[in-house]
């Protein structure tokens, strides 16, 4: 048996243990995070949560409903229980505009326009969210699509899918960057860094609509966690640097100005690149300091006279160049800069110095410079201790901004949940099940957990028996809207009792793929039409609560069904509203499941 656990498994374990001991307890200063995704995102949770736990935060992560980004943006309070601090919205082009992508690949000229209008719609929804939600918002840039006929190495990619992806991403980015305080997580960059072929999990995609490998989720989760962390934890403020074999190769006191390596020849190039990194950090507001065991004059000679130096004296905000232990120089540097020692990062090439600093000053983040000069840049530019969000003037004036934004949005953007549903072009096909539908219907009966009133499971044979019964009717529902054709995604099994003029609902379920669009109500409406045809005057429904069907719990009371015991619910057929005018009823053919 393989006894080595992967980093991914370790993080899952950390999250599991944390969630277990957290269950039901009150948390001090909780960090409430909501994640809404266009794909199955449960697997992402431990990879966002565990790094936050390890950073000393108390995260609580809630998932929004499957692929209902618009609905969440327009009415987030309906979907999340807690007072959210952070809302993370994740989408992929393939989940969002698959028909357009496929049409594009077929040479359809209008496909780009169609996909673009969906992007614009999402931006409107984000504007609405920003106006109504006071917490932090993170949205992603969509990754290059997977599973389509054209792929990254296709020869036509630059002109084909690549162009479409670039165009749509760009269109999205240009608009979202103008919405105040929305942070962007570049999922495409993460996928590039990781490698697309290592990122897509085709088995989990086909089985569960979960598209990403554990290793991609680990990276993406780590980046999202860093973004969330940066809302709560201040970055380090100063980097304290050793000099010899850190800023240059060699030892100035021994090799002299001409002997140290710095400049256009390796390993001098590696140290020069490191100085570039330090200047980049300095430009972002991080202070540079020196802690070197040297004669001061020797060190400054390099700064002043060596042609390879990119760092100059004026870049250094504080220094302790002496023969004292560095752990005693640290508080002196902190004092000069008027910051705490816990805001410092210490870099040295000597493992003994690092070890000693970690013991003497554990609040300082001590980082060992890699021994291999070629690794210096690669390793150090990825550290996250300096992560911070740009706090703009707008962020500081958040509440004023929101009032102005609300007005602007109210004037220019009339997107609401109702408007959104109206604009969907929703189309449903409610039909009596035929023999060839029973397979798919049985599948839905056995795997639908969330929007399922009674959660009665049956085998194919049992369903066939029911289909033969003269008192029972089995109906299927096909759904499509402008975002796609979802296929057979609803089942109703009803029993007619002519003596009592009742129609009793045995099974009433919908796949989570079609929720949040008004289909739930429409299904009831079309069922009422059937009830009337059979002469029933009352609809009776059984609601059996399970651990998973909370989304269906409010359905019957919301539609004015009445119950004495919260189990059996009744409503007169005449009280059931007709199908809303913007939903079309049609015969949607095909065998899409």
């Amino acid at each position: 048996m393989n006894s080595v656990t992967s980093p991914a498994s370790s993080l899952k374990e950390v999250w599991r243990k944390y969630a277990e001991q957290l269950a039901g307890k009150e948390v001090q200063s909780p960090l409430n995070i909501g994640i809404e995704a266009s794909f199955t995102a449960n697997s992402l949770i431990p990879f966002v949560g565990a790094p936050l736990v390890e950073a000393g935060l108390a995260p609580s992560i809630e998932l929004g409903p499957y692929n209902q980004l618009f609905q969440v943006c327009l009415d987030y309070k309906s979907y999340f229980h807690s007072d959210l601090n952070v809302l993370i919205l994740l989408f992929r082009l393939e989940d969002f505009a698959l028909d357009d992508l496929l049409a594009f690949l077929q040479g359809d000229d209008t496909a780009f326009e169609s996909a673009s209008s969906k992007i614009d719609l999402l931006v409107s929804a984000l504007q609405k969210l920003r106006a109504s939600f006071k917490g932090s918002i993170i949205v992603n840039l969509p990754p290059f699509p997977s599973i389509l006929p054209s792929h990254t190495l296709s020869l036509e990619n630059s002109y084909g899918l690549g162009k479409l992806h670039r165009g749509l991403t760009s269109r999205f980015f240009e608009q979202v960057k103008n919405i105040p305080g929305i942070r962007i997580c570049d999922f495409d960059a993460i996928q590039r860094e990781h490698g697309l072929s290592r990122s897509f999990d085709s088995r989990q995609w086909y089985l569960y609509r979960q598209p990403f490998t554990d290793s991609f989720l680990l990276t993406a989760g780590a980046v999202l966690a860093r973004m969330v962390k940066a809302f709560r934890i201040a970055p380090k403020k100063c980097i304290v640097l050793d000099c010899d074999n850190t800023l240059w190769g060699g030892i100035i006191g021994e090799d002299g100005l001409g002997g140290i390596q710095l400049g256009d020849e390796f390993p001098g190039t590696a140290y020069r690149d490191f100085q570039r990194l330090l200047l980049y950090w300095r430009q972002q507001g991080i202070l540079l300091a020196l802690a070197s065991k040297n004669n001061e004059a020797d060190v400054w000679e390099v700064f002043d006279k060596h042609s390879g130096m990119l760092l100059k004296r004026e870049h250094i905000s504080a220094w302790q160049i002496n023969w004292e232990p560095k752990s005693e120089n640290i508080p002196k540097i902190a004092k000069v800069l008027n910051i705490g020692t816990d805001s410092l990062v210490f870099i040295d090439d000597n493992p003994a110095e690092i070890d000693y600093m970690r013991q003497a000053r554990p609040e300082v983040v001590s980082i060992l410079l890699p021994e291999e000069p070629a690794d210096i840049m690669a390793t150090l530019r990825t550290i996250s201790v300096f992560d911070r969000h740009e706090i703009t003037q707008e962020d500081r004036q958040r509440s004023d901004m929101m009032k102005a934004e609300e007005q602007r949005v109210a004037l220019g953007n009339n997107l609401s949940k109702e408007e959104f549903q109206k604009s969907l072009g929703l189309c449903i096909d409610f039909f009596p099940a035929r023999e060839e539908d029973l397979d798919r219907i049985t599948q839905l009966i056995n795997k639908t957990n969330q929007f399922n009133l009674s959660t009665i499971r049956r085998s194919l044979d049992e369903v066939r028996e029911l289909a033969k019964s003269s008192r029972h009717r089995i109906f299927g529902l096909r759904v499509s809207d402008k975002f796609g054709d979802y296929g057979l995604t609803g089942v109703v099994i009803a029993e007619f009792f002519p003596e009592g003029s009742e129609l009793v609902i045995d099974t009433f379920l919908l796949s989570c793929r079609v929720l949040g669009r008004g289909v739930e109500t429409a299904l009831l409406s079309v069922l009422a039409v059937e009830a009337q045809k059979e002469g029933a005057t009352e609809v009776v429904a059984n609601f059996i609560p399970t651990a998973k069907n909370t989304p269906a719990a409010a359905f019957l009371p919301d539609h004015h069904f009445l119950s004495e015991d919260k189990k059996l619910w009744r409503l007169a057929v005449s009280q059931i509203p007709a199908v809303l005018p913007w939903i079309s009823l049609a015969h949607l053919g095909g065998h899409k499941a």
Binding site: M1, N2, T5, S6, A8, S9, K12, E13, R16, E20, T40, N42, S43, R203, Q204, Y206, L207, Y208, Q210, D214, K447, N449, R457, A547, K548
Partner: protein, 117 residues
């Protein structure tokens, strides 16, 4: 695993550190084998127990998503990853779909050459 080993480990004032260490290791193994019979050795049970968060002794070959609420499609993903990692195998979608009970999981693993699954 004999009494003499245990006795050696327990011998006071023994100056042979290595031997004492070996004795401790062997004694520990004896204790494990005797007092935690099925748990340590049964990796399949341990994985299900850890991932679903249910006690190991409630798991038997008939354990399935139908009788175990915590075994849902989301945990199924985690189970697949854990099983593959632990036994160094790769499961096809066909095999994953066939693993409807713990007993069937064991069967799939044995068919793939995992001894004692």
């Amino acid at each position: 695993m004999t009494a003499s080993v245990t006795a050696r480990a327990a011998a006071p004032g023994s100056s042979n550190d290595w031997l004492r260490e070996q004795g401790k290791v062997l004694t520990t193994k004896v204790l494990l084998l005797n007092f935690r019979p099925a748990m340590e050795k049964d990796s399949v049970r341990r994985i299900f127990s850890e991932i679903l968060g249910i006690p190991g002794d409630t798991i038997n070959d008939e354990t399935s998503p139908e009788n175990t609420p915590k075994w849902d499609s989301l945990q199924a993903m985690n189970l697949v990853v854990a099983l593959e990692e632990a036994f160094n195998v790769r499961l096809s979608t066909k095999e994953i779909l066939s693993m409807r009970t713990v007993g069937l999981v064991r069967k799939v693993l044995r068919d793939k050459g995992v001894a004692g699954a």
